[in-house]
Symmetry: C2
Subunit: 141 residues, 2 copies
């Protein structure tokens, strides 16, 4: 799922939380929020290097950490060693191809219903969740 925020909403969010608005921040933020495939730090970095040739990996890491703090994205580690960033904090299933590593999101109403049952059985207040299914995607079969 792609979460839409316009520039002004992003700018307000940064300012409200006491952070300055920079071109890099906006660019990283807009890039990650527009992608449904959980890019890695490196992918963000290389994609933005085209329009922002001086951008650094450090800035990408720091900004993505900031976005996690602000509750806009979730960091995920799969079995590869790098971090991936998921802009969807709502309940969904990460369908991970074990061959090519592509990730497809899957959302359905019945998942939410089932989840509600589980949470109520557990009697806890969850702060987040993650559901993965590992499979071989059509391209890799």
């Amino acid at each position: 799922m792609v979460i839409w925020m316009d520039d002004q909403e992003l700018i307000d969010l940064f300012r409200e939380n006491g952070f300055k608005v920079t071109a890099q921040r906006l660019a990283i933020c807009k890039f990650i929020l527009s992608r449904g495939d959980h890019p890695s730090t490196d992918q963000v970095y290389h994609a933005l290097k085209i329009d922002y040739p001086t951008i650094s990996l450090g800035t990408v890491y720091k900004t993505l950490d900031l976005l996690e703090e602000l509750g806009l994205i979730q960091k995920l580690r799969f079995n590869e060693s790098n971090i991936r960033y998921d802009p969807d904090l709502q309940l969904h299933i990460n369908m991970v191809c074990t061959k090519c590593g592509k990730i497809y999101d899957y959302k359905a109403e019945n998942i939410q219903n089932m989840w509600n049952v589980i949470i109520s059985d557990l009697g806890i207040k969850p702060k987040g969740q993650r559901i993965d299914i590992y499979f071989e995607c059509d391209d890799c079969k």
Copy 2:
């Protein structure tokens, strides 16, 4: 959940798959299979160093990779940088405390039923899965 295999079953499993049986392998394997809390490589290493003072981290890594290949355990990465090993390949929920990092397994029949529904909706043959819930455990509240 703790999966029980006796020594002879382990030994047979190694031999059947063309691997030699060594004291280190047996020890690492028995240790990880007996633990429900998803130890890290380092934890395995330090725990075994008591009885096997010459054991090395490299051997622990290699053996745990081997156990994953044999289908006995699953590697999991959480937001910490290290790898954790889960000896339960059956469907369960990893309840992860966001403060202390402890992991509790949760299993219930209705989860399996719900899961079956989702899988059949998706129309895929999953090769594995992972379900996490992040929360604050009683000790950390």
